[in-house]
């Protein structure tokens, strides 16, 4: 069985770099990346990742908009989307779940907890 593909979406290169370092050291996942919501939808349709880990506040298309768009496409509607953001308020969390995400995590995230959660979603 091949390694699972995770699409990481964040406009911050630091965030992408940190996640890439964590994943390369502690997992066998294949990490794809996108720089905003629009890019994420395009890549998800093309690559069919097993899971999407996405920031919320991004230019061109926010994570919430991208999540809604992904849930509307037949090919991507079943892919679990985890929103990973600095916005931790109750209202933001509610908005996140309304967009159709499977989980809502706040930054800064604990590496071990994140990987455990991913494993659970990926059925490992």
């Amino acid at each position: 069985m091949g390694s699972k593909k995770i699409l990481l979406v964040d406009d911050s290169s630091t965030a992408r770099l940190v996640t890439r370092l964590i994943f390369s050291q502690k997992s066998n996942y294949v990490l794809l990346s996108a720089v905003d919501g629009k890019d994420a939808v395009e890549r998800a349709l093309a690559e069919k990742p097993d899971l999407i880990l996405m920031d919320v506040m991004m230019p061109r298309m926010t994570g919430l908009e991208a999540c809604r768009a992904l849930k509307q496409h037949k090919e991507t509607s079943k892919i679990p989307v985890m929103l990973l953001t600095t916005r931790g308020g109750e209202q933001f969390v509610e908005e996140g779940y309304e967009s159709g995400c499977s989980d809502y995590l706040t930054k800064p995230v604990n590496d071990t907890e994140l990987l455990e959660l991913l494993k659970a979603y990926l059925g490992e």
């Binding site: 630091t14 770099l17 600095t86 931790g88 800064p108």
Partner: protein, 208 residues
């Protein structure tokens, strides 16, 4: 069976008792060792966690090829690894001993633009060249624009302060700065300054 014989402990019983003592002793000993191992592992996990962050911070600083990108990298490192989205970076102007903002995120532009060396909490931290944390110095008076201050980190090479990182509020989900955060800030204090000063020299070489 004689009384003497009765008092004699039976070899089997003696063995059982001895063995129980030993097992109990071994169990306590093993538990102590296990607790020590767990404690050590916890410490090492924490240090490893910091190492990962320093690694990421270094990689990001090394990627920055322009001065503006160095500032952005510092801001992003604080935003993503520490948990604050109210950050400003100030540059030191040696000519008039003032600091002016060169990069900021989440801060009203009019609120915090400039300060003088020695003035207010920020100015004093810059003057002393030592990182200051508001909750550690509640006695120090603050100016109105410093009200939400969390930390002030001088960017310095040796003793020369070339700028200052100002962190206002932490993210609501962040309960406070932790050991790894202080270490990361210490790293930025020096290596953020190195990256910024080097890019500055590359972009603005000193004319003979």
């Amino acid at each position: 069976m004689s009384a003497t014989e009765e008092k004699k402990p039976q070899p089997e019983a003696q063995n059982r008792e001895g063995s129980a003592h030993e097992t109990r002793g071994l169990t306590f000993g093993a538990l102590r060792v296990r607790a020590q191992q767990l404690s050590l592992r916890e410490q090492l996990e924490r240090q490893h966690f910091l190492l990962e962050r320093l690694n990421a911070a270094s990689a990001r600083l090394l990627q920055a090829i322009e001065l503006g990108d160095v500032y952005e990298a510092i801001g992003e490192i604080i935003g993503n690894l520490l948990g604050s989205e109210q950050v400003a970076i100030f540059r030191h102007h040696t000519s008039d001993q003032t600091f002016s903002v060169v990069w900021s995120v989440g801060i009203e532009s009019e609120t915090l633009r400039q300060f003088g060396m020695g003035a207010g909490f920020l100015g004093r931290a810059a003057h002393e060249g030592i990182s200051q944390f508001r909750n550690r110095r509640p006695d120090r008076p603050v100016l109105p624009h410093e009200a939400n201050l969390t930390a002030c980190i001088p960017l310095k090479r040796d003793r020369e302060v070339i700028g200052v990182i100002v962190m206002l509020r932490l993210l609501p989900q962040k309960n406070g700065l932790e050991w790894a955060d202080f270490e990361l800030l210490k790293y930025l204090e020096t290596y953020g300054a190195v990256a910024a000063q080097l890019q500055d020299l590359r972009e603005n070489p000193v004319k003979p």
